[in-house]
């Protein structure tokens, strides 16, 4: 058992190093010194309080969209639509915030905005589960295409009802200050959203691994035939997990609009859904692992941007880094299975020899 945890730690560390190494090769092609660049990356993220806190600002929505992939994944379903669910959440959070204006603010106002966003995202998401339950539609495709519908909704509303008062840009007015998520560390951008995301991750873990509902979700995911014969309605599971997924991604929309932007800007954070999928796979869909993987990716994002600004390396190198790290971490699963297999064989031989 101990050896397995050691394997896990070493293989993930090795995978991250290999991923960074592969990106270093790309930098060499650009004629840049990767060692200097990584030095810069490492030093920049711990340079000052503001930058360091930004890691967690970036991690918060990643935790939520990764969870939005992970929950249906536990039922062997693929939610590729977190991006659209995120936009729906952001859209409803913004509309609610603007409607409340200065009339209701503080904790009550934020709770109302949060619940509205989460309910809307949940309903949006559950449609995917419903289509699968009712018409046996492919949830992968339906959820993926639903993102484009959500995007079109957002574009439409930002040009009409929600457009700022000057009618120049496709974005909303700034929300009333009373509806901004409060900061948890002064002098940084770190808002309550990160705390919320971590709490939600813990709650998701509890639901999946400690309740009867989560148990049934996992049964459906691991063996749908046995689930059916046990009287578990997998169709209800489809709808429920996609409702939760939509709600989680919508919560990310809430933390981004009310915590960071304080308004809604057309097509912001376009990669959040895809990155969430990567992080969820990286963490093997474990909610606690997702928190750590999101922080790692938050650090890469923050450091990468600064690295780009200071060394002339294009910031898109960060995406290459994210990609290579992800590929190596996924390969490490297979390496671990192999290690474990050969260890058991050695053990067996030893016992046979006796």
């Amino acid at each position: 058992m101990k050896a397995r945890y050691l394997d896990l730690f070493l293989s993930v560390a090795a995978a991250i190093l290999l991923g960074l190494g592969a990106s270093a090769v790309v930098m060499l092609f650009l004629g840049k010194d990767p060692i200097a660049a990584y030095g810069l990356l490492a030093s920049s993220v711990i340079r000052d309080k503001y930058t360091f806190a930004d890691i967690f600002v970036k991690a918060a929505p990643l935790i939520l969209t990764a969870l939005a992939f992970a929950v249906p994944y536990k039922a062997s379903l693929f939610n590729i639509g977190a991006q659209g669910q995120f936009y729906i959440g952001a859209l409803v959070a913004s509309a609610a915030s603007l409607a409340l204006g200065n009339k209701v603010s503080g904790a009550v106002g934020l709770v109302v905005v949060f619940l509205a966003a989460v309910a809307a995202g949940g309903l949006w998401g559950s449609f995917v589960g419903f289509a699968k339950a009712k018409f046996k539609a492919n949830e992968f495709l339906v959820s993926m295409m639903s993102t484009y519908v959500a995007l079109a909704f957002m574009n439409y509303l930002l040009r009409t009802a929600l457009m700022e008062t000057k009618h120049e840009y496709p974005q909303t007015d700034s929300f009333a200050q009373g509806l901004w998520l409060p900061l948890v560390v002064g002098g940084t951008r770190l808002h309550l959203g990160f705390v919320l995301a971590v709490l939600i991750a813990l709650a998701v873990w509890l639901v999946i691994y400690r309740t009867g509902f989560g148990y049934r979700v996992r049964v459906v995911g691991l063996n749908p035939d046995a689930a059916r014969l046990a009287g578990i309605d997998s169709r209800a599971t489809y709808v429920a997990t996609f409702f939760i997924a939509g709600a989680l991604a919508a919560a990310a929309g809430f933390t981004e609009t009310n915590g960071v932007q304080h308004m809604l800007v057309q097509g912001f954070n376009p990669g959040l859904g895809a990155e969430g999928i990567g992080i969820a796979i990286l963490a093997n869909a474990n909610p606690i692992g997702i928190v750590f993987a999101s922080i790692l990716f938050g650090a890469l994002k923050v450091g990468g941007v600064i690295m780009g600004q200071m060394s002339g390396i294009p910031a898109s190198i960060v995406e290459i880094m994210e990609g290579t790290v992800m590929i190596f971490v996924i390969l490490s699963y297979f390496a671990r299975a192999k290690l474990e297999g050969s260890r058991e064989k050695r053990e067996l031989r030893r016992r046979m020899a006796q």
Binding site: V219, N223, K345
Partner: protein, 518 residues
């Protein structure tokens, strides 16, 4: 033995957690039928898969006609004249017999007529009567097996390995297969016949190699041994005598009742044809039949996972129409499905989690909003003890248990949760004798407690050992329900092959036979 065609020396094969073969040595001569006898999990199939190139051994060597060879794939094996017929056939369903037979060496442009002629010549030579142009999926299992054999013959196989070939056959089809094996061997070819059935061994083998726990545990010429000796070699102890079950109580209330149950699948095929039966409390009704004649469908209809198009199912007098799977579980219907891997267990979950598979809805396992993991673990530990499941603990994953212990886990869960009616579908398939014995005594114990048992099995000995009454199914219909004492092996064999009319004149109360065609 004469000249050895194939020799295997000191073959050792390790899987991650088990020694599948431990220094296995054996040889097959020309013109010889070698039976590889052993229980499930004894390593018979594994050592033959090494010979056929499906597995690579960790040590040991293989000699063909005295020369050491490397066999790394079935292609290598085939080139040496070695062919293997797996337990599960590898045929392309929609393709014709000819297309399937030539699959292994179809290169470039195929001359359909020439191929067909060659296949026909082979079929005639071995007396196989089959329609060469029929799509394979439309053929009965016994004929599909002939296609597999033709495939091997077409490749000029000189050694035919057959893995449990009679498992899917009627007694009559088995007879034909035995005749083929004898004539094939007489022509100078060799056969390795993998089985755990003693009767077949005595019928067809020249020499017998007995395996147990991955190693060779004895080698006998057929003329020098008998079934009793082979059985004790196979299991390491004498066969336990079968206990006759206590007679069913007269006039006990009917626990499960089916009336004219018919089920039509999506393709319009009648899977169940007007099935009627009754099981009383404390009674075991055995359903015999060749697999695939509606037994699985019958179990599914009762447990609620298959819709019925006509008829009525009632449990303790209560009509089950409109009651779903979950509702029937809650009414106390237990079901041990035939395929425990697919239907009975969640392999990647722990033993404790598998124990609550059917009862996770109820309040029994809850504490506040959460599952009461301590209580579940206590319950699982109790099941491990009561059912002598060999497992490290309640947290062990189901997939880490042996087949027998997995089955005990399913049986434990279903028996503990079930109220009055319990279905056992092939409860001992793939188990070793110890586990079989355990499952059998559990079934009898539950009968003693007054539960009604529907027992489906393709093992006639199991049916005869446990049942109070026996029904035979053929093509979705019940060919008749008889008290156990009024049925002979011959008669049941005929019923299984669907020849009710001929046999019926021989007498015997044909309680439900009249309904078969209704």
């Amino acid at each position: 033995m004469g000249e050895a065609f194939v020799e295997m020396k000191e073959i050792t094969k390790l899987f991650a957690k088990v020694v599948a073969n431990d220094r296995v040595s054996l040889a097959v001569g020309r013109g010889e039928v070698l039976a590889l006898l052993g229980e499930n999990g004894a390593g018979k199939s594994t050592v033959m898969k090494v010979l056929y190139g499906l597995y690579r051994s960790d040590s040991g060597k293989i000699l063909v006609e005295g020369e050491e060879v490397r066999i790394e794939s079935p292609r290598d094996a085939m080139a040496l004249g070695i062919a293997m017929i797996q337990q599960h056939f590898s045929l392309v369903g929609p393709h014709s017999v000819v297309e399937n037979v030539i699959l292994g060496n179809a290169r470039g442009v195929i001359d359909a007529r020439e191929c067909e002629e060659k296949v026909r010549a082979l079929a005639v030579r071995y007396g196989f009567d089959l329609d060469l142009r029929a799509p394979v999926r439309e053929l009965p299992v016994g004929v599909q097996q002939k296609v597999e054999i033709l495939k091997a013959l077409y490749q000029d196989a000189r050694l035919l390995i057959m893995d449990e070939p009679t498992a899917v056959l009627t007694p009559q089809e088995s007879e034909n297969l035995m005749a083929f094996i004898r004539s094939y061997a007489r022509a100078g070819n060799s056969v390795v016949f993998i089985t755990h059935k003693l009767k077949e061994v005595m019928e067809v083998a020249d020499r017998i190699v007995v395996m147990r726990g991955g190693a060779v545990h004895g080698e006998k010429r057929r003329s020098e041994t008998d079934e009793a000796e082979l059985a004790s070699l196979m299991i390491g102890r004498e066969l336990p005598p079968l206990r006759p079950p206590a007679p069913a109580p007269e006039g006990a209330p009917v626990a499960l009742c089916l009336e004219g149950v018919t089920s039509v699948d999506r393709g319009g095929v009648e899977r169940l044809r007007s099935v009627s039966l009754e099981i009383r409390e404390g009674e075991i009704l055995g359903i015999a039949g060749v697999s695939g004649n509606g037994q699985d469908e019958l179990c599914e209809a009762v447990c609620g996972s298959r819709p019925i198009s006509a008829g009525r199912i009632a449990m303790e007098g209560r009509d089950l129409a409109g009651v779903g799977i979950r509702g029937r579980i809650e009414l106390g219907l237990g079901y041990v499905p035939a395929d425990r891997h697919r239907d009975g267990l969640v392999m990647d979950m722990s033993l404790a989690e598998n124990m609550i598979l059917k009862s996770s809805f109820g309040a029994a396992w809850r504490r506040g909003p959460f599952l009461d993991r301590r209580r579940i673990a206590v319950e699982a530990r109790k099941a491990i003890e009561d059912y002598s499941i060999k497992a490290p603990g309640p947290e062990a994953l189901a997939k880490g248990l042996s087949g027998g212990n997995q089955q005990k886990l399913v049986v434990a869960r279903e028996v503990e949760a079930c109220g009055k009616v319990i279905i056992f579908n092939q409860p001992t398939r793939g188990l070793d004798l110890g586990a079989i014995d355990y499952v059998h005594s559990t079934i009898l114990r539950e009968k003693g407690k007054g539960k009604a048992v529907l027992l489906v099995s393709t093992e006639l000995s199991e049916i005869f050992a446990l049942s109070d009454r026996i029904a035979v199914m053929y093509k979705g219909a019940i060919m008749g329900i008889h008290p156990r004492d009024e049925l002979s092996m011959e008669r049941i064999g005929l019923l299984m092959a669907g020849v009710a009319a001929v046999g019926a004149s021989g007498g015997g109360p044909a309680a439900g036979a009249g309904r078969a065609g209704a």
